[in-house]
Amino acid sequence: MAPILRLDRISKNFAGLAALKDVSFEVEEGGLFGLIGPNGAGKTTLLSVIAGSQAPSSGSITFRGRDFTGARSFRAVRSGIARTHQVPKPFRSLSVLENVEVGYRFGCDDRSASASKDAAQVLEWVGIGHLKQLPASRLSVGDLKRLELARTLAARPKLLLCDEVCSGLTETEAASVLRLLGEIRGAGTTILYVEHNLRAIMSICDRVIVMNYGQKLAEGPPEAMQNDPSVIEAYIGKAASI
């Protein structure tokens, strides 16, 4: 299958600090890709660059055959690249339903996609339908994570960028969110899933990219990555030093 997303030598510098350095990879349409790495590896920065929240310093991004380098985030989402935030960013004074309405009404240019789930249905899907009239400020952390995901799904993305959707959740909550990601992928959305927690990602991804110090360290199926010496070193240090 053709790649839905191609990154070519993406770099991002913050003043003197290189947060990303020559990162290249391709994401196949319909897949569930994991992006892992230790703290500060540049995972979230890479997500922000793909989603258009930040422009890359160099390199290029191709999405569905079109050059998307430096596209602003509202353009990216309307064309089909939507992201969630690691720390949810709800519109606190709006109701849960209104939060999702923003994504539904602004997030998609494609008229033919309007036949898919509407805002209320998306809320049911992620399991917070019963909370739709509450102001977002009254939600628990777990429900805020679900709201973040629901809002993004309402934009009907073709490529969903998930940033640590399980962090801060209990084991049961995390398991149900992972199940949901499987369903989203089953519904035809390609997912690029950034995660700090290895176990979560190994259980559901079919391909994993490992990052460290802003560079791509390795790429392959999850089992191979788990046993890759360079990956083990990045996470827990050299075997000799244990």
């Binding site: 509202f74 989402v77 935030h85 709800p90 923003v102 009404r105």
Partner: protein
Amino acid sequence: MTDATATSKATISKLIPVAAPLALLAVLAAFPLLGPGPNGIRLLFVTLVWVTTSVAWNLLGGFAGQVSFGFAVFYGLGAYSTAMSLNAGLDRPVSLLIGAAVAVTASLFIGLPTFRLRGPYFAIATIGVSEAVRVVMTNVAVTGGASGYRLSEHGNFNQLLHFYTALSVAVIAVAVSIFVRRSKFGLALVAIREDEDAASDLGVNPFRTKLLAHALAAALTGAAGGVYTGYAAFIYPQGVFGFDISVAILLMPIIGGVGTVWGPVVGALVYGFVHEELIASFPQLHLLLYGSLLILIILFEPGGVMGLLGKIVRFARSRSGRGAHS
């Protein structure tokens, strides 16, 4: 409580949001017939001009959360361009539209650079722009510079004409505000206020949306300036471009309840009536009093009069609810 009374109570609480504004409008429209005298009509006229500016400011400052200290620019430009159009022999409605159009043009010139800034930086930039415009207008010869500009009124002075013009423009402003609050555009504004980056991530173009809200607010404020000019017949830069005008326009929605439809209306009504009394009673102190009032509201009731009313209503309901159960 029986079902019938519960239903009738529910119907009443549904009717209030529609009936109360209509009743207010009826009272305002009938006001001149109640024999308040020319001074009473003048006071309400000025208050209606304030209602328009307050509602307009709230579109940008309340719904979208972009606090501007520069609305005197639109008020003043609206006032001057309406006056010049009237002097050129144009109709009153056309002149008001020209006043609104000039203000919109200014809003775009101001918004294009300043909406790249956020929060306090945007607010500070609007102060700078506003002061710059005032200084320029003080030195422009065509409009009489610091000594002001006079309207050469044709025909007899008709106070009621001015009063009903002010009422009409205020009604239009409130209608625009209601419409915006319920529209897709209004949803985008509130999303920007709550989190601009998240709004952008969900497909809202923050820059364009803010620019549009600014333009809409400027149009109404410009028209308000024009309405005022038609009545005052003489304007000067310190009077219509002064920083105190900008502060007053921002103060009213905060008094009434920022980010709501009716808060700015209530705030302007309060301000309009109290303002004159305060100036008359404490000519040296009234600005200090406003400052203190602002601090008190922000500290103790950020929701303004409407927020306070909401609390009282909820309190009363919880009391009566408990009474019914016991």
